[in-house]
């Protein structure tokens, strides 16, 4: 469970994020939308303790994330290429992250199997360093790594960006299936309204760092979002 209270991040002259109260339940699939500069990535970075909040705090499972290493065991994340190690091959990278989570060989094998469809034969056994991968494949590696260690919470920034249509559909299936099997909550930001409403049961519109609208359920979500972004 992620709970945010009185969270504020001020930069010189403007407030990037200003959220009074927001709670994401352990089973929720949570979507975050908003135009550029709305504060989506800043919020995610604060949740992952990469940016120090000016005020307020974020708790994951009841504990403040700041200066705390515990949550890293059960939160998986991929925001951008700063989460990848460019001079490793994808396999080495997965092995390394796997070891941090105590993975054995079998665990890694099961992991590869899960992502076989998404990887589409382009990631494993190619003898390429991560730095030489295409943008779409970088994204696949990052997203896959965020699933290592069976985290309870997975934070993804723009997961569908740069993926080809087939991969987008496969990723959506993967996200759905994973959540059917265990208690898992997603925090996903996206500019693609169709995708986000398909994957998420709850969508929050962020505007200038503030929660503009909190839409529950996915039936009318797309229409509501389109209405907002038209303006």
């Amino acid at each position: 469970m992620v709970s945010i209270s009185n969270l504020k991040k001020n930069y010189k002259g403007y407030t990037a994020v200003d959220i009074e109260q927001l709670t994401i339940s352990p089973t929720e699939s949570f979507g975050l939308v908003g135009n550029n500069g709305a504060g989506k990535t800043t919020l995610f970075r604060m949740i992952l303790d990469l940016i120090r909040p000016t005020e307020g705090e974020i708790q994951i499972n009841g504990k403040n994330v700041q200066g705390n290493d515990e949550w890293k065991m059960y939160v998986g994340s991929y925001l951008d290429e700063n989460f990848l190690i460019p001079y490793l091959t994808p396999e080495e990278y997965f092995q390394f992250v796997g070891k941090l989570h105590g993975y054995k060989k079998d665990d890694l094998q099961a992991f590869y199997q899960k992502f076989e469809a998404l990887f589409n034969g382009e990631i494993i056994g190619k003898n390429k360093y991560i730095q030489d991968l295409s943008k779409g494949n970088l994204k696949k590696v990052g997203i896959a790594a965020s699933f290592i260690g069976s985290p309870q919470i997975i934070v993804l920034d723009e997961p569908f960006e740069n993926l080809d249509p087939t991969s987008q559909i496969r990723l959506k299936d993967l996200l759905h299936n994973e959540r059917k099997q265990r208690t898992l909550s997603y925090l996903i930001s996206s500019h693609d309204l169709t995708h986000v409403t398909e994957v998420c049961e709850r969508t929050v519109i962020l505007e200038k760092g503030k929660i503009f609208k909190d839409i529950r359920g996915s039936e009318n979500a797309l229409a509501e979002l389109e209405e907002y972004f038209k303006g």
Binding site: D49, N82, P86, K99, L100
Partner: protein
Amino acid sequence: MVTTVLLGLFVVIMAGYAIALGYAIVPIITKTLSEDDPINFLNGFLLYYFVVEFVLRYFMQNLPVLDIQPYLHLPVKRNYLVHFFLGKSVVHFLNIIVFFLFTPFALKVVANMYGFAIAINWLVAIWFFSLVTHFLVVLFKKKLDDTFLGLLIIVGLFSFLGAADYFGWFKLSEVSRKLFSITTKSYYPLAVGLLLLATTYWLNFRFFLSSMYPEEIGTQKRSDSRASYGFSFLQNFGVVGELVNLEVKLILRNKRPRTLLLLSIFLLLYGLMFYRGSTKEKIPDVLLFGIGIFMTGAFSINYGQFLFSWQGGHFDFTNTRPFSMRHYLESKYWLLSAVIFICFLLTIPYVYFGWRILIVNGAMMLFNMGVNVYIIMNIGMWDPQKINLSKGSAFNWEGVGAAQWLMALPLVLSPFVIYLPFSLSGYPNAGIFSLAMVGLAGIILHPYLLNRTAKRLLDKKYTIAAGFRKD
């Protein structure tokens, strides 16, 4: 912006040194060494000078190959592009440095003896050879850099010259003297130099014309080093071992840290230059200390300058994965300490020049491990800049901030803070002993000191992460 200014400043300083040196050469040779034939004397050194220039160019010169990329798809003739690129490569400080260095000598000494025309002849001939070196380096860097053959050629050449000198086949200085003394008698060397220059230019031209693809001439080939480097025994040391292994891979797989590693091995030979005279006269302790610090700490200082910058590209990874900052720092601590220890082991043969050298180097190793490592870590936290690992090493100013310039000072000066009070009161050996003890204390206290440092890093990580995210 700042780096441009620094770079400009650096060039100005270099030029200043070169001019000063150029003026100093004249009185040094004629007065201090009181050579009766200064021209012959200097000529004997010129081939050595070109060897040094080759090495200097190798490390400092970057090929502007990527500059042609924007024109490749435009209707411009390929020949023209290659000429443009090669011409552009000539515009470099190092290509006129011979004028700074040798003009005073040419005008004051050579002109005095043989007349103005010969002086110009002499100077221009040297310049031509300098340019030949330039084109040789360009070709060498593109064709043989980072290959086994390239290393073999360099090592082979140096061994051959050394052997020739040793077995008395010929002396390089003798060859150099004869070669350049021709310039004082005729204008042929000018023609020969021009011919050599044209040949090397032509070789470069042919090479680049046949490989006009950015991926071929641009960044280094990546087909090699696919093999899994790293040390599997490190897996027995848990998370910290894994992190050290990761960093070993970083060093071996990326060009810039790899060059640093080679450079550090090279620095281990430093002692040879200074210790050699020690059989005749005693070397001052100050010098022994400096050499000891540099040899045992060469890699740690060179690499540690950018301690956090190397992994700046994935600092967010470091922050979100399940290990603590303490683990992260500890891995850096063990890596640096291990390398310092290995460097010390490699300097042990210098015991040939006296036991004192071994003892001082041992004390310096302890001091590096117990004190300097923490200095490196703490200064490294001060506004580190990200290093883009895929870029080459030569004259790459990425990652260089104010802290990196300041770091070398405390590292080299700190041992004297402890040593001087003892030595001034007449107990230099006690000074060395207490240096070793302070180092040992730092090593024993490492769990505590690492905790302290980790706390600082934890506090600063947001600023550091924000800095790394900037491009």
